[in-house]
């Protein structure tokens, strides 16, 4: 009906069906009608179903008491008696971010090392790196997590006879216990010293760059930076009288209490995630370095640049451009894969919010929607950041 009114305006010779613009309008109208119809159908059904089962929809459940323990909450105190499902959500989000960031850092370090070893002239070492990559990336991640959690960490000694390292670290089936640093009065001086050190490093770096541009004289920025970062806070600590105390884990009837604790679920998750993702990152790094034409290295050698400097100043900056886009998707994968914690009883968003909270509150649609929304946001943020970084290093290109 809408189609017949459109025909009147068009030139008489071209039939409606043969005019690409009109035709695409009709196609799109059909698609929109189909999509709207589909969503109407789904929403209608959902409303019917919810009414039948007597489930009230809405986000009110976020304020109702949760009443279960989440296991791990390093950033805010979690009391099972007072917590609401909203608290559970916040704890889950924070834990997921902690797992993702820790995992990304460790996976990047291992991945870069293995990727470089894979290209090592040493036959044995490069073969071993190859075996590492090919073994880990061809085995499902979930299986690796279960292996670390049940087969490796499950064999740790019971809490009565924990393995002790220098009487400060204790390892048993409940986790790795260590001293917890507690800042005392005057701790601000150390923080101030660190801030000063960082400012100084930034300024030195600028000055060194300028001097090298003008005179060609390099300056050992890295060594000086490390020195500053160690010496300045140390001086501040001496002046303030070491304002940092350690709370050691105490042994009591029920095992170890207090101090800092790394739970086995968390350890298994980090181990599994970072070792698995590192095998992919290693391949990305290897192919990135191999993508740099050999002429670049030869030219640098011909100019008398030493191999390590060639790697640092010639090969890696160019390789990064090849490496960053696939690296981004690996970071995204790691973040999404942290949801597998649900299988080993971790404490991140899918496990405690989309798992326990969903079972207790029964608000399936809201909870799954919030969870998916969280992952979508994180995915978008990570890809935005990496796109920004990618543009920044791409600027170096001629």
């Amino acid at each position: 009906m809408a189609a017949s009114s459109e025909t009147q305006g068009s030139t008489p010779r071209v039939s409606l069906w043969n005019d690409p613009q009109k035709r695409s309008l009709i196609y799109q109208a059909i698609v929109v009608v189909m999509i709207v119809g589909f969503f109407g159908f789904v929403i209608n059904n959902t409303a019917d179903n919810l009414e039948k089962r007597g489930i009230a929809s809405g986000f009110g459940f976020l304020y109702s008491p949760a009443g279960f323990d989440v296991g791990m909450s390093p950033f805010l105190t979690y009391e099972p008696s007072k917590a609401t499902h909203g608290t559970v959500l916040i704890v889950g989000v924070l834990n997921t971010l902690l797992v993702a960031i820790t995992g990304i850092v460790i996976a990047t370090i291992i991945g870069f090392i293995v990727g470089v070893l894979r290209l090592s002239p040493n036959w044995l070492v490069s073969r071993m790196a190859y075996c590492y990559v090919e073994t880990l990336r061809n085995i499902p991640l979930l299986l690796q997590l279960l292996f670390w959690y049940f087969a490796v960490l499950g064999t740790l000694p019971s809490k009565r006879d924990s393995i002790s390292m220098f009487d400060t670290f204790f390892l048993n089936i409940e986790g790795l216990f260590g001293p917890l640093p507690v800042p005392q009065d005057g701790f601000w001086m150390i923080l101030l010293a660190i801030a000063i050190a960082i400012t100084a490093i930034v300024m030195i770096k600028k000055w060194a760059q300028k001097r090298q541009d003008e005179t060609g004289q390099p300056f050992p920025v890295f060594l000086v930076s490390v020195g500053l970062l160690i010496v300045l806070p140390l001086i501040a600590a001496v002046i303030a009288g070491f304002p940092l105390e350690f709370e050691h884990p105490q042994k009591n009837r029920f095992g170890l209490r207090g101090g800092m604790i790394i739970l086995p679920e968390f350890a298994a998750l980090i181990l599994g995630l970072s070792l698995y993702t590192a095998s992919f990152i290693a391949e990305i790094v290897r192919s990135g370095i191999q993508a740099i034409s050999h002429g670049q290295t030869e030219a640098a050698y011909a100019l008398g640049v030493r191999p390590t400097v060639t790697m640092r100043l010639v090969v890696i900056p160019q390789a990064l451009r090849v490496i960053v886009p696939p690296l981004t998707s690996q970071y995204l994968n790691l973040t999404k894969n942290s949801s597998l914690a649900v299988a080993i009883g971790g404490a991140e968003i899918v496990a405690i919010f989309a798992g326990t909270s969903l079972n207790q509150a029964g608000q399936a649609i809201e909870i799954i929607a919030i969870t998916m929304g969280f992952y979508l946001t994180v995915s978008l943020l990570i890809s935005m950041f990496m796109n920004w970084y990618n543009r920044r290093i791409a600027l170096v290109e001629r």
């Binding site: 059904n45 179903n49 799954i368």
Partner: protein, 369 residues
């Protein structure tokens, strides 16, 4: 005539190369001990291997037990492979009735028999194998596995083991390929609304983890359908997994479409071909050929990801092995179970990734870089 006896009349035989340049010693020197850093690395590597390999082989082979009916029969201190032996049929077929297992075997033979020729370059009759696999095979597979038309109906609750893993992976991939092509075409379409919808679909599914998608399939999907419709858990899982992998497939296919030079599109249009004819006859045959490695890689990822159905209570290969290791007769064999599952997955995934790498090398015409 002067005596010229000191002049040699034949050339001196070649000297053997210096011993430091040939043979095993030279190889060792060049590849393992070319400098102090390399020597150090080599020694560290040898130490690591010494620490890992002998204990592992001792555990897995020399001290292993191969026979027995419970964990107590495994007394030599090594791996207890007897568990795998006793439970092997269950690991492969799940709870599929023993008398009907030939149907699963036949399904596997048909599946591999029609899929492998498709993956071999220049194999004859590719078109017929493709038609069979994508059009005739699905109903045949349904009849074979589920039953009907004279075959006994086997409820999907009895499906399990490696067989279920293969069903999940292959059905999702076969369904997601056409879906992915449609969404990839939609994403490159000139129609803004269609393009927007396709982008939203692809990015939504790619932005969330598979676990939340599986939860959605098992918890939310029943709510979306008219009250009273109740359908199978495996079918629900298959639906959401197909959509999930279709989003990834769409991106793979889009990569292939982007690699086709613009001249191909223009030439096809100049010949007066319609959009669908252009796509079906000119663009897609070329684009799909270059993305076969990408499709295989997506399949590897999907195959590994099928293990996640553990969280919604389907008895796939990993879940069924894990369940066996928690049985009272076999408590303490979890490592053996995991190693076995890992080995099976590894063989599948490694061979597929080798295939995709070989193909990638052959398809690489060297035009890039």
């Amino acid at each position: 005539m002067a005596d010229l006896s000191y002049v040699r009349t034949e050339s001196h035989p070649d000297m053997p190369p210096p011993s430091s340049e040939v043979g095993i010693l030279a190889w060792l020197r060049q590849n393992l001990f070319s400098g102090w850093l390399n020597s150090l690395l080599t020694l560290a590597a040898i130490y690591l291997l010494y620490k890992i390999l002998p204990p592992f082989f001792g555990w897995a082979f020399w001290n292993a037990d191969w026979n027995g009916t419970t964990y107590k029969d495994c007394t030599s201190g090594g791996a207890c492979w007897a568990m795998i032996r006793v439970r092997f049929d269950q690991f492969m077929y799940g709870f599929y009735p023993e008398a009907e297992r030939w149907r699963v075997n036949l399904w596997v033979v048909l599946l591999f028999g029609s899929a492998i020729p498709l993956l071999i370059e220049n194999s004859p009759g590719k078109k017929y194998f493709a038609i069979f696999l994508f059009i005739l095979f699905p109903p045949i597979a349904y009849l074979l596995l589920y039953g009907g038309m004279g075959l006994r109906v086997v409820d999907t609750a009895q499906w399990g083991g490696l067989f279920l893993t293969l069903v999940l992976a292959t059905v999702s991939i076969v369904v997601s390929l056409p879906l992915g092509i449609v969404f990839a075409l939609g994403r490159r379409s000139n129609m803004p609304i269609v393009r927007m919808i396709c982008i939203a679909f692809i990015e939504l599914w790619r932005g969330v983890p598979l676990i939340t998608v599986l939860f959605m399939g098992s918890v939310m999907l029943p709510l979306f359908l008219p009250p009273g419709t109740n359908f199978d858990k495996i079918l629900r899982t298959l639906i959401v997994m197909s959509f999930f992998s279709a989003a990834y497939m769409a991106e793979v296919v889009r990569g292939g479409l982007q690699a086709i030079p613009k001249g191909q599109f223009e030439a096809a249009q100049a010949m007066g071909l319609s959009y669908w004819k252009m796509m079906a006859l000119i663009i897609l045959p070329q684009a799909l050929k270059i993305v076969i490695p990408g499709i295989v890689n997506t399949f590897i990822g999907l195959f590994k990801d099928t293990t996640l159905v553990l969280v919604i209570g389907l008895f796939d290969f990993l879940t069924i092995v894990q369940a066996a290791t928690t049985h009272k007769n076999w408590l303490g064999t979890s490592t053996e179970g995991y190693v076995f599952v890992a080995a099976v997955f590894w063989v599948f995934c490694f061979s597929m990734s080798r295939y995709s790498i070989t193909l990638e090398r052959r398809l690489d015409t060297g035009h890039r870089n």
